[in-house]
């Protein structure tokens, strides 16, 4: 019944079947040795080439290799045209403000020398097709500011006009940047719908490279687009993206010369790669992600700061004391290896920078503020209680939950512990919790911790994409955003003067915007609904032979892949 010969036979059959099963793939030619080929290693597959659907960053990374938008932003914050022939402004007549309706029209002129990889020209029809696909209520997507658009009309094959119902300051990059590509009307199947169409997985290229092969979970191969409009570009023949989930393996591949680029390189990895002769790390000139503490001004479990104020955090002096008690420089040095840069206002990077003085780290001042606010420790247990405070009952203990998210990893958890230790020194006891981001940030209907107000203090990072902070500020500090699932004003902080300034910043008058933003910065500094701490590094490690890589917070590192060369 069970003979060893039979066992061997069965095993042999299993082995052969298994190896055949694992061999499903399309044919790939082996590149000749004189070709210029590079390998990018990333942690996970992009969901598609359309970042509007999932916005994981990986989708934008591959989109930038094959697709173009109307415009993009360089690492220094300058907007430049891609498919557009020039950027429409009020000065060149491209933007017309209609005082009667309060709306504006933007007329875009497109380049006439850009073709899809199949030789068809890229025209205004493609832009209108893309817009129609996005706004389709059944199968479409959503991009910031799309609700301000009434319609898009074709003027001629290479000109179209966007009609806005109000002023939208971010209009220049609305159909570009890392977010929106223009899709080919003659190739994409509109009936499949924007969110699920096949052309987002097998795109027709008008960018520098063409997707040749995608083996899910393993690799993607791109070859140069012979029809690319910039003469002599791209310089590379093949770009291979390998999916390598483990960070230490990606690092070893870089050191071994088997990988040329690792995106979103962490501080620890940058430090490890510092002395590797064949690897360079390229931090972007500005940073985007600001690590910050969110104060819940409403009582835990509630969402209205006026009706049910937080017994501890609704007192401004307490928030100021917390700010004074946190030593950001030590956090940067110890846990972020010196790469964290202290930040204390939302308006810290160009083009909108405001002069707000840096808060001082001063434990004594912090303690004094708490004493002054009526929080003292009379029972000697090291934790203050309310004795004459304005926001809580007599004897209420200064003890709160302090949450952060797990995906960031060790540096953030150490930061959380360090802050808890520092606040412990001034008599504030923090109980630490680490949860998954999808639990912390989930919708109120999904039991999201923040949307439901089930927290005291949270620690995590965010910052606005691109160079226009208006929508970002609106979603975090506006009154509308303080309603659960209507935005991210988890602090439930409402300020009428701030609201007026914010509404006034939806204008094309740049000087006015700058003024409003800096007045808003002053209010945020005085009121302290959030405590901004530092930016985390934005860098991409690459092989020394790969030239012209420029990391940026305004896009993914592949934004200028057409310019990359090999030494």
């Amino acid at each position: 019944m069970l003979r060893s010969k039979n066992v061997s036979l069965v095993l042999l059959v299993v082995l052969i079947t298994a190896s055949l099963l694992g061999c499903q793939s399309n044919a790939t030619s082996v590149p000749a040795s004189d070709e210029k080929n590079i390998t990018i290693v990333i942690a996970e597959d992009p969901p598609s080439f359309n970042p509007i659907i999932a916005d994981t960053g990986y989708d934008a990374l591959v989109m930038e290799l094959v697709m173009l938008g109307l415009s993009d932003i360089d690492p220094d914050g300058n907007i430049f045209p891609e498919l557009a022939a020039e950027l429409p402004t009020a000065e060149n007549g491209g933007v017309v403000y209609d005082e009667a309706t309060g709306g504006m029209t933007v007329t875009w002129k497109m380049r006439q020398d850009v073709q899809w990889a199949d030789g068809e020209p890229v025209t205004a029809d493609d832009v209108i097709f893309t817009y129609d696909a996005i706004v389709n209520p059944e199968t479409g997507g959503w991009i910031p500011g799309i609700d301000y658009i009434d319609r898009v009309e074709k003027v001629d094959d290479y000109t179209f006009t966007v009609y806005y119902t109000s002023v939208y300051p971010g209009y220049l990059t609305q159909f570009g940047r890392e977010q929106v590509a223009i899709w080919p009307a003659h190739y994409c199947d509109a009936s499949q719908g924007f969110a699920a169409w096949d052309c987002a997985r097998q795109p027709l290229s008008d960018g520098p490279f063409v997707l040749k092969e995608w083996v899910n979970g393993d690799h993607m191969t791109f070859v140069r687009n012979e029809n690319y409009f910039e003469d002599g570009k791209p310089a590379l023949d093949t770009v291979t993206i390998r999916i390598v989930p483990d960070q230490s393996v990606r690092k070893t591949m870089l050191i071994n010369g088997d990988a040329d680029l690792d995106m979103w390189t962490t501080e620890a990895m940058i430090a490890d790669l510092q002395n590797q002769p064949n690897v360079s790390v390229d931090p972007s000139p500005t940073n985007r992600w600001v690590m910050r503490i969110f104060f819940n001004l409403a009582e835990k479990g509630t969402t209205d700061a006026a009706a049910t104020p937080h017994p501890i955090l609704s007192d401004l002096k307490v928030r100021q004391a917390i700010r004074a008690a946190i030593d950001v420089d030590t956090i940067s040095k110890e846990f972020f290896l010196g790469y964290a840069k202290p930040v204390w206002t939302e308006f810290f990077r160009p083009p909108y920078t405001c002069d707000i003085s840096r808060p001082k780290f001063d434990i004594a001042a912090a303690s004094a503020l708490l004493d002054e606010a009526g929080w003292t420790d009379t029972d000697g247990d090291g934790v203050r209680e309310c004795h004459g405070c304005a926001t809580a009952e007599e004897g209420y203990k200064m003890e709160m939950e302090f949450i952060t998210y797990s995906e960031f990893g060790e540096p953030l958890e150490l930061t959380q512990q360090f802050i808890a230790e520092q606040l412990g020194k001034i008599g504030i006891q923090l109980n630490l919790t680490v949860v998954e981001g999808s639990v912390l940030w989930a919708a109120a209907t999904d039991g999201g911790i923040e949307q439901n107000g089930n927290f005291d203090m949270d620690l995590w990072d965010d910052g606005y994409a691109g160079i226009d902070p208006t929508d970002f500020i609106y979603s975090y500090y506006s009154e509308t955003s303080a309603t659960p699932d209507m935005g991210y004003n988890f602090m439930r902080w409402i300020n009428a003067q701030f609201e007026e300034l914010l509404n006034g910043s939806y204008t094309l008058d740049e000087a006015q915007r700058q003024r409003n933003f800096c007045e808003m910065a002053q209010i945020l500094d005085q009121e302290l609904p959030q405590l901004l701490l530092f930016t985390v590094v934005n860098a991409d490690a690459h092989s020394a032979r790969l030239q012209n890589v420029r990391s940026t917070t305004n896009d993914l590192v592949t934004w200028n892949a057409a310019d990359w060369t090999l030494k």
Binding site: G22, G57, N216, G448
Partner: protein
């Protein structure tokens, strides 16, 4: 026996329906949700949340979502464009008709996603299991017949170590040694690749395939070898002390014949049952192995889906996995009865 199998299969269907309810409830009621921010965005904009809820079918109450998951919505009118009017029939067929829906993350059919990953996992896990069994059987036999010998003691020590060493640690060390440190003396390249299935999937090169298998198979098989060899050792020890073995020896049969024909065949019976019970591993794969060795398999698909709260993928993997487990148990029972004539199912 036929009636028994039929009865078990009918029970399996009932069990799977019950499981489908439990799994759906667990996955949906677990904290967090697919509408939290992904990747670059901490949050999904409120306008987008509303759109996504409708597109992903999350706007309906959970019992309705469960019903649609089971039997589809092509028989009911739905509101596709969000204007509050039921305007057309749905397109979902439900898992009873083999439609597992589409992934929230990629908007691809779930079965397409699984189909891309499953062959890779089966490829790696069958070879790992086969390799483990091939090594474990001789080790188990030798340890048993030379009980308390130096070999037995050494193997026992390594077995415990094999079971105790975590895969993620061993895998990293393997990569460090065979990829980062050791070089091929002829070409100067790393001795073994760091991961993936092949250097070039389009061109079949046997040595390249084997080279890519060595590290994940060794790392994955170590624990299984330890486990199976220990198991066979004790099973073999049980058998060799039985009266019929003594009888066989007493009637003058050669030692080898007694060992392989009388002892081993009986000692293998429990091991084969165990192997049948371990079959779900072949479907599910091993998460640390797939992550460390960049292996595009099921475990990574599931892990990513769990992080993203990609419910359709999660549920499909769970329910198919559950079916595998139930089926493996059934196979184990049947094989057991087949191999051991003393077992009868009525």
């Amino acid at each position: 026996m036929g009636t028994y199998i039929l009865r078990r299969l009918i029970q399996t269907v009932g069990l799977l329906v019950l499981l489908s309810f439990l799994l759906f409830a667990l996955v949906n009621l677990a904290p967090g949700g697919p509408l939290a921010g992904q990747g670059q965005n901490r949050h999904t904009d409120p306008e987008k949340v509303e759109l996504l809820k409708r597109q992903l079918g999350l706007d309906k109450p959970l019992p309705t979502q469960y019903l649609i998951w089971l039997v589809g919505n092509d028989w009911m009118q739905i509101d596709k464009n969000g204007d509050g009017v039921l305007d057309s029939y749905g397109t979902r067929q439900g898992i009873f008709r083999g439609d597992f829906g589409f992934s929230f993350r990629t908007r691809q059919p779930v079965l397409t996603e699984i189909g891309q990953r499953l062959p890779n996992t089966i490829y790696l896990t069958t070879i790992t299991m086969a390799f483990a069994v091939l090594i474990a059987i001789p080790i188990g036999i030798l340890s048993a017949i030379r009980q308390y010998s130096a070999f037995d003691i050494t193997v026992t020590t390594f077995s415990f170590a094999g079971q105790a060493i975590p895969e993620f640690w061993l895998g990293l060390i393997m990569i460090l040694v065979f990829y980062a440190w050791l070089k091929n003396p002829f070409t100067g390249d790393p001795l073994l690749p760091s991961g993936g299935i092949a250097a070039n999937l389009g061109r079949f090169d046997l040595w390249d395939r084997v080279a890519h298998l060595i590290l994940p198979v060794l790392t994955g098989a170590l624990g299984w070898i330890a486990w199976y060899s220990r198991f066979l050792r004790s099973s073999m020890l049980d058998v060799v002390h039985q009266d019929y073995i003594r009888t066989a020896r007493a009637k003058g049969l050669p030692y080898g014949v007694v060992l392989y024909k009388h002892a081993l065949r009986n000692a293998l019976i429990p091991l084969i049952t165990l192997l049948a019970l371990d079959l779900p591993y072949i479907f599910g794969g091993a998460i640390f192995i797939e992550i460390l060795f960049s292996w595009p398999g099921m475990a990574r698909l599931y892990y990513q889906a769990a992080l993203d709260r990609d419910y359709p993928i999660l549920l499909a993997v769970l329910i198919i996995g559950a079916a595998f487990i139930i089926l493996s148990n059934l196979i184990a029972d049947i094989v057991y009865a087949y191999l051991d004539p003393r077992i009868r199912y009525e």
